[in-house]
Symmetry: C2
Subunit: 332 residues, 2 copies
């Protein structure tokens, strides 16, 4: 039996289980020349998918209603009539939320289960690791001795950004939502300081204390008020990397914040958004560097693995309550 998850409604505010629909079909899939039959092993759930559930112009096409949702998936090749892949291969790619599906192989890459756990290819060696790597190095342009502040620091991207920051010789300050996460930033990921935004009254002052020389690079995974507080502490020529705005993704009205413009002007500072695919040509370089650091044990990662295909929607919803530590992955 093949299961599929469809987008039933465009969520208003925070996504609900009722925005998703499960379809079960009792059929056998048959492949033609050039095609592959794939069995889904791991599914990546990511905050940016919320944007694709909206019916609005964005960097990727919106999901269609009553069609399968897709995201990063690790699958096993059950049958192949495609020269590039063999039965038993593991592949990674953007695939539908289906337990089995047919692919023409386009956009799929083989992954090596002997080098790392398969789920790592959705995280540290996949889009999240590459997002951290290129966002920080290409946009943040970190220099030794500078101070890097990261919001959503205990998340999949944030925890990698901080570790790369340490490798590059920066002071690294992470902002997260529980004491446990803040502790993990310091003990597991080697951050210099951490701030729990849920228990801190004056974020502006707390950032000032944790970044006494001011903020040179701000890797922003959340947007919203936390990011406003960081602005008061930026240095001349500070760079903000706008990676995510999870704090405002679920807002139904255009969200407001303090005006960033006077801060940018008086500090000759910049803000830049990006999507990891802007750096697609450099992906091999990125994966190579991340694998090397991983092998040298300079990088470590967290993942939250939820079991069961039927739990994909809930795992996605839980992202917005910060229930994950590191990359959130569903094992099918």
């Amino acid at each position: 039996m093949i299961q599929t998850i469809l987008l039933k409604n465009r969520p208003a505010g925070k996504p609900k289980l009722s925005d998703f629909e499960f379809k079960k079909e009792d059929k056998n899939l048959t492949i033609k020349d050039g095609e592959l039959l794939l069995e889904t092993l791991y599914v990546s759930v990511d905050p940016y998918l919320r944007g694709r559930m909206r019916d609005a112009k964005s960097y990727v096409e919106p999901f269609e209603l009553n069609k399968p949702i897709n995201s990063g998936v690790i699958a096993k090749v059950l049958e192949s009539k495609n020269d590039k892949f063999e039965k038993g291969d593991h592949v990674s790619g953007m695939l539908d939320w289906k337990t089995q599906q047919i692919s023409n192989g386009k956009g799929l890459h083989k992954v090596d289960s002997s080098k790392a756990d398969l789920s790592a290819y959705l995280g540290i060696l996949g889009m999240t690791g590459l997002t951290a790597y290129f966002g920080l190095t290409e946009i943040g342009k970190p220099k030794e001795g500078e101070t890097l502040v990261i919001s959503g620091a205990a998340g999949a991207v944030g925890s990698v950004v901080g570790q790369i920051g340490k490798i590059k010789g920066l002071r690294v300050v992470g902002i997260a939502g529980t004491d446990e996460k803040v502790e993990m930033l310091k003990t597991k990921f080697g951050f210099d300081a951490g701030i729990n935004y849920n228990t801190t009254e004056d974020m502006k002052a707390a950032i000032n204390e944790a970044a006494p020389n001011g903020v040179d690079v701000y890797f922003d995974n959340v947007g919203g008020e936390i990011s406003d507080a960081v602005l008061f502490n930026i240095n001349k020529f500070a760079r903000t990397v706008n990676c995510g705005a999870i704090a405002v993704y679920n807002e139904t009205e255009t969200p407001k914040s303090i005006s960033v413009r006077p801060f940018l002007i008086k500090n000759s500072a910049s803000m830049q958004g990006f999507i990891v695919s802007n750096f697609e040509e450099k992906f091999p370089e990125g994966i190579n560097q991340l694998s090397k650091w991983l092998a040298e044990e300079k990088l470590t990662y967290s993942e939250t693995i939820v079991e069961g295909f039927e739990n994909i929607p809930q795992a996605f919803i839980d992202l917005f309550d910060g229930k994950n530590k590191g990359k959130m992955v569903v094992k099918v």
Copy 2:
């Protein structure tokens, strides 16, 4: 008799005449070796001076209370005991709002009254021209065929930015506050389209109409709601040059706007603030290029010249009501 203008109060909101104080002294200034006696001919009044009247960290030191204000000035050398300057020379520099003053020559540059009107050295061949030139070329990075939108387009900086945009082969759209200014953008400065924000109900739609291919470069002289409306029309990889935020300089609370972050993320777009002195090393290149375009009649400029030293404070205040066309200069 020597007159001086002092900062009496830090303005709350829009500056008032009572925030300034005039001092008159009946004395003769005597210079020592290395010094110059200067007579002020033209004084530049600029929106950024509002920021220096605040008691807050910024890119330049705040003005001190009960001390003279300073800004860009063109002066004539009345006497010289400095090898670099002779009696009768015209110089430009950051000088006090005084009818006469002594200088050690530091930071002063000779200007050539045979090549351009003296007031031009406070405008098109001074900080405003250089601000337009470096802001657009170094931060906006305009490419032929792209669309450039400029707010405060009829202002000193904006009108030069638009003309450079045309020289570089872009579609240029200007936003200004009166029909007369909009007309001038098109007839005098060669803009492709203009929008009067005071008579336009739906700025978002008006920008969409004037920039049918979307906005690639936004040169922002105003901040505030106009800039928010532009955000809805930016293209992938759009660059915003944050040059000024006159719309919010007078606000007493930290100003709010829509959150720019989701727009930057979904368009891989950037915003960058700057101050012209960041490019100080390249000033000769900039002045050279601007002079060349001026001589070739590819550039023209507007200036509003107010007469009388005693009218400097009012001329400054009038900037915030948009009473100037182009560079606002006071002829002493």
